[in-house]
Structures are given as structure tokens and as C-alpha cells.
Amino acid sequence: MMPAVLEFKNVSVSVKVGGADVALLRNVTFDVGKGRILGLVGESGAGKSMVGRVISGLLPDNLRFSAGHVYFQGGELTGRKARALLGRRIAFIPQEPLSALNPVLTVRQQMFEHMKHLGLPRKQWEPYCLERLAEVGLPDPADMLGRYAHQLSGGQCQRVLIAMAFSGDPELIVADEPTTALDVVTQAQIVRLLRQVQRKHGTAVILITHDLRMAAHVCDEVAVLYAGDVVERGSARRVLEAPWHPYSWSLKMATPNLTGPQYVLPALADLMPGLKQIAELPGCRFARRCPTRNAECENHVPVLESVGQGHYVACAGQCRADSASRKTEPHALPPAAHPGGRPLLELRDVGMTYQGRGGRKGQLFHALKPLSLSIGPGELLGVVGESGSGKSTLARLMVGLMAPTAGTVHVDGVARAQASARQAAQMRETVQMVFQDPDSALNPRRTVEGLVAQALELRSDMAASERRQIAERLIKQVGMAVDALQRFPSQLSGGQKQRVNIARVLCVTPRLLVADEIVSGLDVSVQALIMNLLLQLNRELGIAVVLISHDLSVVRYLCQRVLVMRHGEVVEQGPTDQVFGNPAHPYTRLLLESVPSDDAGAAWPPTEHDQDSVRAGSAELEFQS
């Protein structure tokens, strides 16, 4: 048998925490053969990127390679050797395509630099670059070479980086979340491209991702990582279809379906253990969150054991047999109920137009073409579309952070522009916004209590004890412990921050929440918790929600009605089941096809010709004179 291109054998990486060694990677074992794609799947903190660091020989100073062996093409790979091979025989595709390219150098300069590193003769550089750029499907390679990073779209940047990664004909490529920063349509294209080029060159690829479904479609094999342990490894299809380990199962189940019956997302309690907690988990690191743990788990380190057909699971408990814990409850949203009632929020022919600046002076840019829309009390409305489709502009208009350039916004039947000061204050309380990025939306200098009770500061008559009580009630309402009130946002996890973000707006008892991409950027299990929280608020307090998202499955799970937007225009709207089940507009179809299917047997990503017809012309913002 040929040696694997890359083999990890019982690799451990550890860090010193308070005198004790804590293993950030523990006995990690896997291999990738020539022309194969291995997916490393896990949430943040699982140690996925650490594997990439080990391969590149670029471990941070405080970490130590403490045990095991890494073999590259049969020979042992040391840190120094790895660094010598970088770019030539081992190449990386980074996560953030826009920041991976140097903004002050042209694509040509950066690719030539790489050619120099590869040792190609000078006069071959240009034709070679052109050939490689053409291979990754960039339309006009000669023009591309002269451009700077900011003149490229995210997808184009990623194509350039893929071209660079493959230009040395490396044996191994490590792609660290290559599509996370891209929208779903571009993601499908990049994944397809990556696979296409990889097949052509017979390269081995390690794909690091948090998306089990995507991994299952793209990869031949996947390894699921949890807190530095490989908990399950096997053929991609088997792991997605029949995950054995409870963590893989919950990872799979935490993403809602796009087709078929829906179920209440099962959410794991607690969080991925951090560095300090890992030190206190001598046995199975998943045990504390595991629904099927037994007494043995906490002290016994599970080892990967074969369960047949090259499928390995590390679990000491009876996770394989116990299916009782894997029941799901069916989930269905109540139908949108506002028969003839007065709408809570109404947009009448609302549009937003900007005057062009600089070179485009005198031209008008339509951020939002006039649209009418009404939202009833307790309704759940989803707005989907890729970046630049006008979703965020719509959100800002709804809450009144912007005034529309055309049309009127009515809250409870009163036009916002004509509202008196008292009415305006009331409107502000009725319609609230939950911001996308809790890091930016929570003032780092306030405590959680100060944040949650922020709105009460305006009431000077309120006693501090009363304020505190309200803060306690709110923090409990979003499912957090009262002792979190004295912390600062920097001491909270991403999911906790998002809860505080929600609790803050609940303080003014709004009746409509406009939530702008609030679950994107969160790990899937945390995302599931936040979605369930929104549903609970809707059910218990009757709060209507406008959920803006690029993630169609999230919208399907949460929303009764959906609006599909593109280039500032609503292309399709209607009940979610109808729009997603039987899309009328080609753009909606394209979006739906781009989402990795939950059926591991389905062909994904879709073939090229369906996509490009709709894609054409969408790379540039459309300016109209």
C-alpha cells in the first residue's frame, strides 16, 4: 500500500496552565491519502485549527508538541521541515480571503512573489499565473493580475488564493474554513471549484470546517473533533447519515432541515470546555454534556474503536445502543394569525436611494426599491438574501435608524415621520432591534447588569434595587444565571453575549424585534439555543420577530412568512413552506440549491450551468442613472 500523504499518529499538543500540562490535542490519529479529502469538523474550541498549526510547523510559543508522530509522504514531519515545505508541497487556503491578500500589492505582485518562492524561471511567471487563474474560473486572468484585493469580490479573492495554493502542485492542501466568510451561493461555487481542481491534480486536501453537512458532501472522510479529541471518524456519508457519537449527532441535529419534517432543535446544555475546564476533565471530555454518559465516562479516556466499515467512534458509554436519548420532537410554527387585525408595523412604498459620490456623481443608487409590507402582532417574518441585497437597509428603516427617501413607515397605524415626541418614544419601545455583532453592540465598559437595565437609566425615579430586580428577571428570561450580572461582556461566551444583547431590548417590552443576522457567526449548538429562545419569546410574550438572515434553514425553522431579496428588491414572498417548497423565482431556487442538503446522497454542490445564468451581472453593484 502507498503511504498516506499525511498521517497523524497519536499526536498530542499541550500547553502549561498553572504548572500542569493540558492537552489541546489528545492522541489525534488520522490520515489522508493521495487525491482524498478529509474533513475536520467541530465547533470553535474543538482544536481544528491546531491541527493546521501542527502541519505548518507554526505552533505558538507556549504550546508544545508533546507526543506522537506526523508523517508526510512516509517521512517524519518536524516543525522545521514543515516550514521548508510550506507553499511548495504543503499549501494553505486561509479563512478570510480578503485579509489574506496584501491590500497594497496587486495580484500580479503577490503571485510573482509566490512563483519566486517556487523557484520558477522569471519568464514563465506571467503565462503560468494566467494559466492558473484561468483554471480557477476567473473570467479575465490578464485583467485580474493588475487588480488589488479591494477590487475583487470575496469569491474572486478566494479563487486567487486557491490558484496560488495549487500553483506549486503541492501534495497536500489545508483549507481552513475556506467558505465561512462567503455567502451561500459563492460557497457552493468555491467548494465545487476546490473539488474540481483537487481531482484534476490528485491533491490530498484537509478541509477544516464547522459545517458537518458541507463536509459530508465535499469530503471522502470526516473526523469530528471535540475539545481536542477525535470523537468519531469515518466515511463522510456514514458519519452524516448515522452518526454514532452523541456529539456528532447533536452537531448534525443542531442545524435545522431545509426539506422534510422539522423537529425541535435539540440543544446541548453548557458549552465546549475552555482551557481551564479541560484540565479538570481527565476522562471523556464530552461526558458532562453527554445525555448518555455513565459512571465510567468521567474518568475513562475513550479510544477510537472500529464499528465496522472504517468507521471509528471514541465513546466508553453506550451511545451506540441507546437511541432513547435521540428522540426529537416535531416542530411546527403556528400559522401567522392576523386576520384583518391592525398591522403592528407597516411599510408603504418605502424606498431608499443614495446620491452617488465621487466618480458616480449625479447617479442614484437604489439601496432599496420601493416596497410595501406589513407585519402583524406575533408574526414571524424572515428576510433572506445575500450581502448587498438591501436586508440591513430594510432593518434600519423598520426600527427608525434611517428615514426612508420614499414612502412612509407606520407603527400601530401612525406614520413615524409625523409622530409627536411622545408617540415617537412609544414607537421606539414597540419596535426594537437586536444587533448582529454582540461584540460591537455591547459596550465593553458596562457590566451585564448595566447593559440589561440600560434603558431604565432614563427613569431617574427608579430605585437601584428595583432596577436590579428587573435586570435579574430579564437575565433569567434569556436563560442565564443571575451571577452573570456582575460580569463584563469580555468575560462571556459568544452565545451568552447574544443573550445579553436580546435581554437588553426586552427591557423596554417591545412588541416587534428586528433581528439582523443574530445567529450567524455562532457555533451551531449555540445557534440552536438562540433560535429556541426567540421562539419561546414569541410564544410566551407574543413578540413579533423580523429575522434577517442569509441562512435559509434558520429562516425555515423560525419564520412563517419569508421575503427573498436581491439587489434591493423583493423577488419573492409568501408563506415559508410555499416559497421554499415550490420556489417561483430562479434566484430563490439558486439560494435553495446552494445550501448543502441534509441528505448525504444528494448531489451537492449543484452543477455549474444552473447557477451562472442567475449569477451573471450580480458581481457589481448596480448603479442607475
Binding site: G47, Q277, V399, G400, R428, F435, L458, V508
Partner: protein
């Protein structure tokens, strides 16, 4: 180490203890404290009246030199005044100018900076233009011009420092305010019904406060130097008040015969400015959340 999150449960150590555990802050803070004590307790510390002339003992070397007198530890100047006493009393003017000028600079510069950075638009363009114009003048010449216009005196020295240096605060703080203003928490506060003034005071100001403290400390050092320059050229204090710049001017004529007369005020200035600069540099590191160790990513 990005991949594994460190979930910090405990609250960070108490603010003051954490701040003073930084070596630069500790050393700089101790030096500043010493400087303040010397200035406050000058009448008790000084061995002689700083203005008393002993014409029989002019230009004495320090006490440890062969011709030195124990009564004048650092010797005397050309009029027979005690150098040590003058050095000690001189710190009072330096401290007054440092505190008052830095406070005034901070208030003027920060207020305008927050207004300009937050409101943007016409106000920002106008103030920023004035600042650009202002900074085109060489600072030393500018302050001397001001002194000529305003007349001498400590109060006018302070005023001159404020009028020259407020631009430093304005520039740095405004840039930071513009960043803070774009954060979503500012919009969130507006949506919760906060007025612009309240947003500026409760949301924006706390974010730039560490920067202001750092600049304040730095500005105290700058003010000491400017005061020394102005009293050196005789535009600052009246002749019966002791200031380090005056000592420098007096000692200049005997630089070859009695170098220690110059050395003493120079040491005073260096000590005070170094103290404030060290403190400022330390505070910059300790108070900047970006340079601080991440609490619990």
C-alpha cells in the same frame, strides 16, 4: 492561541492593584508622588529661604566638594542663594503649571473632540480645519507670541499651554470617538431612547477615558517643559518667584565657573518629565483593552 477558548470565570483583579502592578506605572507613579510631596512640603524640606541672598558665599560648590558649606547642600548661585532650596521651591511652579495646564488642555481638547467626532458634519469640518491651521504654527514661537500678547505671569503660562496644546487632545481623542461612534452599542442606546448628550457621556466617554488619562499624564510633562522654556526667556513668573527655568537662565552666565547651578534645575525637569512620561506610557498599556491580555475570548 485562537483555537481553544479560555473561559475566565473569576473577575479580574481589582482595578487599582492591577494598574499599579505594571512596572512602568509603579515606578512612574512613585516618582510623581515624590515630586508632588516635594512641592507640597517645600517650606519644611528646604534648608534655606530660596530668595535669601548670602553675598559672602556666592557660587559655592556642593557641600561635599572641598570648598562646600554644610548649610548649602547643593551650593549657592551668583547671588548666594541656596540651590537646593530653589530647586525644591521651583517644583511648586512646575506642579501648578503641570496640573492646571493639563486639566485645561484636556477639558478643551476632549470636549471639542467628542462633539466633533460624534456629531461629524459641519462642526467637525470647522474644528478640524482650525486644528490643522493651529498646528501649522511652531509651538514654542506660538506660545511666546501668546505670552507677549497676554503678559507675563503663571496664569498666562497656563493659558498659553492650553491654547497651544489642546490640539493634541483633539486629534487623538477625535479619532477614537469616531471609532466608538460607529459601534453598534451607540445605535442601540439611541434606540433605547438615549439623548445625544447622554450617549456621548455614558457610551462614548467611558470608551475614550483611558486614552484621555494617558494623554493627561503626558501633557503634564509637556507643560513642565513649556513652563521652563518660558521662564528661561523671562516670560513666565515674576522675579521673586522661583522656577526651574529662571534657575537655568540665572545659571547660564556662570556655566563654566559653576556648572552645578545649571545641573540642579535640569535634573529637576528631567525627573518630573520622566516621571509623567513613564506613568503615561505604563497607563497606555494597562488601560488599553487592546493591549491588555484578553479576559476570556
Amino acid at each position: 492561541m485562537s483555537s481553544i477558548s479560555v473561559n475566565q470565570q473569576a473577575r479580574p483583579r481589582g482595578g487599582m492593584a492591577r494598574i499599579f502592578s505594571h512596572p512602568k506605572v509603579a515606578v512612574g507613579g512613585a516618582m510623581v508622588l515624590l515630586f508632588i510631596c516635594v512641592a507640597v512640603f517645600a517650606p519644611w524640606l528646604a534648608p534655606n529661604d530660596p530668595n535669601a541672598q548670602d553675598l559672602l558665599a556666592t557660587l559655592l560648590p556642593p557641600a561635599w566638594a572641598a570648598d562646600g558649606m554644610a548649610q548649602y547642600p547643593l551650593g549657592t548661585d551668583s547671588l548666594g542663594r541656596c540651590v537646593l532650596s530653589r530647586l525644591i521651591y521651583g517644583s511648586r511652579i512646575a506642579l501648578i503649571v503641570a496640573v492646571a495646564a493639563a486639566t485645561g488642555t484636556m477639558l478643551l481638547g476632549t470636549t471639542l473632540a467628542i462633539l466633533a467626532g460624534y456629531l461629524r458634519g459641519g462642526f467637525d469640518r470647522a474644528t478640524s480645519f482650525i486644528v490643522v491651521l493651529w498646528m501649522a504654527f511652531p509651538p514654542v514661537v506660538f506660545s511666546m507670541m501668546l505670552m507677549v500678547g497676554l503678559g507675563t505671569g503663571v496664569r498666562n503660562v497656563i493659558l498659553a499651554v492650553i491654547l497651544v496644546d489642546w490640539t493634541r487632545f483633539y486629534r487623538v481623542v477625535r479619532a477614537e470617538v469616531i471609532v466608538a461612534r460607529q459601534r453598534e452599542y451607540v445605535q442601540a442606546a439611541r434606540l433605547l431612547g438615549f439623548s445625544h448628550l447622554r450617549v456621548m457621556l455614558r457610551e462614548v466617554l467611558p470608551g475614550v477615558a483611558p486614552l484621555i488619562i494617558t494623554l493627561f499624564s503626558l501633557q503634564m510633562g509637556v507643560a513642565i517643559i513649556v513652563e521652563a522654556i518660558l521662564s528661561f526667556v523671562g516670560l513666565s513668573v515674576p522675579s521673586n518667584v522661583v522656577a526651574w527655568g529662571v534657575m537655568l537662565a540665572d545659571g547660564r552666565d556662570q556655566i563654566y565657573q559653576a556648572g552645578w547651578n545649571l545641573l540642579a534645575p535640569v535634573c529637576g525637569i528631567v525627573f518630573a518629565v520622566l516621571a509623567f512620561n513613564l506613568l503615561s506610557d505604563g497607563l497606555r498599556v494597562v488601560l488599553d483593552p487592546r493591549l491588555r491580555k484578553r479576559g476570556g475570548e
